[in-house]
Symmetry: C2
C-alpha cells in the first residue's frame, strides 16, 4: 500500500514538473495565454496543483467539409482577442472550401491535483466564480485532472462554398456579440483566479 | 472507518432509490426522454449506478434581456425533436422582448456511481462512444456524479426587439443544420447506450 502511494506521489511530481517547465517555456516565448498567466503562475507555485493547458476564449472561422466533425476541421482564421468586423469580413472573402462556421468558444482550463481531496477544492470554488461546467476527467492515483469550461458561446454557418450567407450588417452584430462574450470571459477568469488562489493556498 | 463506509453506502442506496422512483414516474407520465429511455432503464437495474437527469438535445428560441445570463433567460419556444422552418419562423413572429437566440443544445446525461472505481468505468467508455466532454462533478463518499455532454451546438441572435435579423432562406439553412445536429445526437446516444451497458454489467 505504501509503495503504491509513493509511486502515485512520484508520478504526480513528475507530471507537475513537466507542466511547470512547459509553462515557463511558453511564457518566455510569449506563447502563454496572457489572461490566465496570473492564475497559472500562482498554481505552479503550489505543492499539490498544476495547470496543463488553458485558453481564455477565442473567435474563429472554422472550415468544415461535408460530414466532418470539428476534430477534422481546419482553422480558416482564429483570434484570441476581440476582433473588428472588417477583419472577419475580409477573412470571409478569402478563398475557402466546404462550409465556414463563425464560432466563439468559451474559456477552458485544465488543472491537475495530487489527490481527490485537493481536486474537490477546485470543484467547490469554480461555481462561486460563475463557471458552471467542469469536472474531473481523470481520477487515478497520482493524477486527478479537472477540466473547467465557460458557457459563453456562439456558433453558426456563415459561408457555404463560395457563397457568403450573412449580410455585412448582420455580421457586425454577430461580431459585437462575440466580442461582448470575450469580455465576459475575461471577467470570469478574474473571478476564477481570485477564488482558486484562495482555495489552493 | 467501517461506520463511515456504511453511511456512504446507505446514502448511495437512498439516492439511487429516489432517482429510480422519479424515472418510473416520468415514464408513466410520458415525460421521460424517449431517446435515453433504454439506457436509463438499463442503468436503473444495476446495483452501483443510477441516472439523475438527461436530455437528448433540443432546439430553442431563448429570450434574453440586456445583461442577462442564460440562467435568467426565458424559453420563448423549445423543441425536443427536429423542427420545421415554418414552426421556427412562426415562433419568431410571435411577440417577444429583448433578444431571441436560436440555439441547438447537445445531449446531456447525469450518471451517479457508488464508488470512484465505478465512476471511472463511465469515464473510460464515454470517449469510445464519441462523447468528448464529461467528468465527475461531485466526488464524495457515497456520491460520485458524472456529467456527460455532447458537442453538437448552434447559437446565434435571430431577433432584436421587434426586428427579425435573419432572412427566411437563411433560417431554413440554420434549421436544416440544427436538425442534422439533432440526428447526430441520436446516433451518439445509441453508441453511448451500447458502451455504457457493456461497462456497467
Amino acid at each position: 500500500m505504501e509503495k503504491k502511494e509513493n509511486t502515485a506521489k512520484t508520478r504526480f511530481q513528475m507530471t507537475k514538473k513537466r507542466h511547470s517547465e512547459t509553462l515557463e517555456k511558453a511564457i518566455k516565448e510569449k506563447k502563454a495565454d496572457s489572461e490566465f498567466m496570473g492564475l497559472c503562475r500562482a498554481i505552479a507555485k503550489t505543492k499539490n496543483f498544476f495547470t496543463s493547458s488553458c485558453c481564455s476564449g477565442r473567435i474563429m472561422l472554422l472550415e468544415l467539409q461535408p460530414g466532418e466533425t470539428k476534430k477534422d476541421a481546419r482553422f480558416h482564421k482564429k483570434w484570441h482577442c476581440t476582433v473588428k468586423t472588417k477583419e472577419v469580413w475580409n477573412a470571409l472573402n478569402e478563398t475557402s472550401s466546404g462550409e465556414l462556421w463563425l464560432r466563439m468558444e468559451p474559456l477552458i482550463l485544465h488543472i491537475g491535483a495530487d489527490s481527490l481531496e485537493n481536486a474537490n477544492k477546485i470543484l467547490d470554488v469554480m461555481k462561486k466564480a460563475g463557471v458552471k461546467r467542469g469536472g474531473l476527467i481523470v481520477a487515478k492515483p497520482g493524477k486527478f485532472l479537472l477540466e473547467l469550461e465557460g458557457t459563453q458561446r456562439m456558433s453558426l454557418p456563415v459561408k457555404s462554398g463560395k457563397k457568403i450567407l450573412v449580410e455585412k450588417d448582420f455580421l457586425e452584430l454577430l461580431v459585437k456579440k462575440a466580442n461582448e462574450k470575450m469580455k465576459k470571459n475575461k471577467k470570469t477568469i478574474k473571478r476564477l483566479e481570485k477564488e482558486i488562489i484562495k482555495a489552493v493556498k
